[in-house]
Structures are given as C-alpha cells and as structure tokens.
Amino acid sequence: MNGLDQIFVGTGHWIAGLFPVYVQPLISAALEIAIMMAVFGGCFALTSVVERKLLGRMQNRYGPNRVGPFGLLQPLADGIKMLTKEDIVPFSADKTVHFLAPLALSVPIWLAFAVLPFGRNMSAIDLDAGILFFFAIGSASELAVFMAGWSSQNKYSLVGAMRAIAQMISYEVPLVLSTVPVLMLAGSLSLNEIVAAQGTYTLGGLARWNVFTPWGLAGLLLFLIAATAESNRSPFDLPEGESEIIAGFLTEYSGFKYALFFLSEYLGLFAITGLAVTLFLGGWHAPFRWLEWVPSWLWFAGKFCALIFLFVWIRATLPRLRLDQLLNFSWRFLVPLSLINILVAVAWYWSGSWKSPVALPVRWVLCAALVALPYHWLAQSLRGTLPPPRKYTYAE
C-alpha cells in the first residue's frame, strides 16, 4: 500500500536528495510547481476536448473526432491555432492594463493549487489558514476580469465585466458560507486537517465524509452551485453570454491572451472542484475501509473527474439565466439557505452527544427537515419574484 501510494512523494524526495542540502528546499518546491503545472495543464488540454465530446453526446452529436484518434489531438490543434493567431490590441485600449489582465487572472489561480492536498502527504504547502488563502487568492480573479473589461474600451467588454463583478461578488458569499460548517466541525482552517477529520470510519466501514451528513449534502450542493457561478460556467455564464454581448470581457482578446483566459477559467474550475472534493467528499480518503489499498491520489483523481463530469452534465442541460434571476437566486435563496445550513450543522454537532440506539435516524430526520423546509419556503418565495406568465394575444 505504501509504495504506490507514496510513489510521487518518494520520487520527489529522491530527486531532491541528489542535490546539496542547502538547495534541497528550492529543488523540491520547483519540482512541485513543475509537476502541478504539467498535470493541471494536461488536465486542461484533456478537459477541453473531453468536455466537447461529452457535450456532443449529451446533445446526440459525435463531438470533435477529426484530429488524431477519437479527436484526442484536438487540444494540440487548438493550441497551434491560438499561438499562431494575430494578437490584436484595440487602438483605444489601455495597453498596459489590457496586457496585464490575463496574467493577473492566471497567476492567482495557479497559486490556489498550492494548498490543495492531492493525496497522502501530497500538498505543496500546509498552510494553517489554507482555506482562507484559497478564497483570498480566488477573489483576485474578479479584479483581473474587471481589468480586462475596462481596459478594452468596448461596451460589450464593459457590460460583460460588470456582469462578472455582480455575479462573482454575489456568489462569493454563499460559496464561503457553505464552507463554514465544515470549518466549524473540523475545528481548523487547514485543508490537511479538514481531510484528516474526514478520515475515520463509522458503522459498516463507511467513511465519515462530510457529504454523508444532512448539512454536508446541502453544503456540497450549495457549494457546487456557487462554484459553477464563480467559474463563469453555464448556466451562469452571463459574463460571456455570446447571444447578448458577443463574448463579454473576452471580446477584445485574441491569440495567446485569449488562450490564457480560457486556461484560467478551466484552472479556476479545477481548483474549486479540488476544494469541493477536499471539503465535502473526504479529500483523498477511500469511501470504505476495505478500499484503503487503492492509492490516495487515485481516490482524489476519481472524485475530481466525477465532479468535472457533473459540471459538464449541468452545462449540457441547463439554459442560461437572466441577470435578475441570477442575483435573486443568490441573495434570496443561496445566502439564506447557507446561513440556515450553519445552524443545521450546529444542531448536528449538539445532537452528537445523544446516547440512544435510535439517535442517528432521529438526528438525520431532524437535520434533514431543518434544511429541507427552509429550502421549500425559500423556493416558494423565489417563485413569487417571477413575473406572471406572459399572455400571448396573437401568437399561439
């Protein structure tokens, strides 16, 4: 179990050991950076083609199947196309900011990967306030998006950037609030300790993942909805709504700068998916005790891929929201529900000391009702904000 599980860690130590002691920290840091960029860069290339193939299949099409076997070399062709395209900067654009925006977007997103634990002993930095670091770094992307929109001197870019700001700030709140129960019950802001808190097993060898509790399940759903909006993905892709504002803040970008935006968008999705796995799905832990022999990084990769599939599935299914629907949904539904979810977690924590054979089912029913009833009421009130059904006088 240990050999395969620690193969990357062991190899890294071995390579670092080849160098003199005083450069070893530098070498191991460089190795971690190189591996992370290679793995997630490759992940981006693969996702860009697999997502299109899955979307195609979900819409009864083939998807890209021309370049290479099963179209798998498509990212290579896309990359060559992006690199050889002319890099156009609008005449009236603020050249410096226009140039800096893609960099300002992609650098923080790479940094966010530093705190994620990808396997046993496999996190680049074990920060005590890892999750705070993650959200602090993640919110820097809003600035970059607005830089891109403002510096382009284009009305579509500006409208796209305004939408992006409104959306990202609104959804940052439920995103952070839905993680609060996890932090409260794990008692730590360190992602490694949050994973360790989910590493024990309960009845039948089932892992104590947060998602197997009422507040955890609700928290995961809230987190995923907010994460979809944070990474500008359909059905919350208003900032790039191509049917209304061409490409939003990306309108004036071409060539490699556009590719950087595209890359950052997917990397942001990967980072936030990794965080969802870490917070709610037990990180790199196996779901059952008897499955512990599978390497930890494989578990992480499996859960990661499943969540990415879910995001693609949602994208293939749901149509884009209107801006008022989007903001109503966040402020009148997600924010109150994630606040209530914190109270549900508190109830779950207090009722943990009950000593009774029926304690677990009772706790489950109680906590599930505590989150399901507000869900229903909030959904009803949200329905009240919709305009009445339109009456068509002439068109039937």
């Binding site: 899955l54 299949r57 979900m58 819409q59 009864n60 099409r61 083939y62 599935w313 949602i314 293939a316 299914t317 749901l318 869900y375 229903h376 959904a379 009803q380």
Partner: protein, 197 residues
C-alpha cells in the same frame, strides 16, 4: 417539488448520453466529407447558365438581355454583348453574351436573377464546396465555368425543369405551326373560296 425540473432535464441529457453510444439512430449529425446528404430540391447556392444540346457555348440560352445584371442586388454579374447573333430554340435570331462573369464571393444567393430571366437561361446551382486558394480569380466564374447542360438542371430541380421543358416544347410547336402557317399563307388566299357578300 422544487428543483424537480432540473433533475428531469438532467435525466434526459443522461439518456441522450448513454443512448448515443448504443443507438446510432439518435445521432442526428452526418460525418460530412465521407458521408453527404442529398440536397433538397429547392436548395440553392449560386447561379449557373443552362445550355441545350451537346456543346456548351453555342447552346447557351442566355440572350445577353442584361436584365439579371441590372436586377442583381450586390451587382455580382457582368455581361458584355456579342456582336454576332445566333438562333435560339425556336429559330429566332438572338443576341448572345461575349462575357458573362459572376463573382461568387459577392453573390448572396438571393435567386433574383432567376426570377427575372425571361429565357430560363440562368438557374440556381446546388454546389457548395467552392473554397479555393485564390480568393480573387478563383471565385470569379466566367461563362465557360458557369455553363451547365439542361440535363444537370433537370437533375437538380426536377419539377421546375419539367415544367420549363414542356413549355419550351409547346412554344416551339407553336412557333413551327406559325412558321408553317406563314409559309402556307401566301398560297392560301387564292385557294380559299371568297366569302359570300
């Protein structure tokens, strides 16, 4: 229940996803360069010139009347009249084009040239693989490139071509009858009995 619609939609896409792998009939797309759909009868791309008989240029129906050139909204047709006339299908002497060019990079496939042509000489084609490396010369078609036989027109637009052919046969018969009557006319009056006063 709240959110049931989303779940229903997700199930539908999941069924498409699984179904597209085992049920080929679900896939609505065609693998284009290998597999091609037959164009529908009313499909139209760019105009072409119809000719009768075996040879293209002598058989052109076009009489260089310039109506299509004047009517063409993006003005992609360029015609120069020839000085030599040639007989048309009923034997009447008609003008013919010396130059007939269509710039298909300008053509917007509206079909107005076809609507206005009184001689059924210009019709809409259904070719669409027109890409070329030379975007100026390669997309400017002359009358040799544009000329296509009536059989080809019959193959593309069956109904329309059959009507036109029938009408042309009738016109030809009428013209022949008229010619015969004209030829017989000088001989006729003496033979006919004078009407009773």
């Amino acid at each position: 229940m709240d959110g049931a619609g989303i779940i229903k939609g997700m199930i539908e896409t999941a069924r498409n996803f699984a179904g597209s792998y085992h049920d080929e009939a679900r896939l609505t797309t065609v693998q284009y360069p290998e597999e091609k759909l037959a164009p529908v009868e009313n499909a139209r791309t760019i105009p072409f010139l119809v000719y009768d008989g075996a040879e293209a240029l002598p058989g052109l129906r076009c009489t260089a009347c310039m109506i299509c050139e004047k009517e063409c909204p993006p003005q992609c047709i360029y015609i120069v009249k020839d000085t030599v006339k040639k007989p048309d299908f009923v034997g009447k002497m008609q003008m013919q084009p010396k130059v007939f060019d269509i710039d298909i990079s300008v053509c917007m496939s509206c079909g107005i040239c076809v609507e206005v042509c009184p001689f059924d000489a210009i019709k809409m084609d259904q070719v669409f693989e027109l890409s070329t490396g030379d975007r100026f010369g390669g997309l400017l078609l002359n009358k040799t490139q544009l000329a296509k036989p009536n059989d080809y027109f019959n193959k593309l637009h069956k109904t329309e071509a059959a009507e036109i052919d029938l009408r042309r046969v009738e016109e030809k018969q009428k013209a022949e009858a008229a010619a015969a009557a004209k030829a017989a006319a000088p001989a006729k009056p003496p033979m006919a009995p004078p009407p009773a006063p």
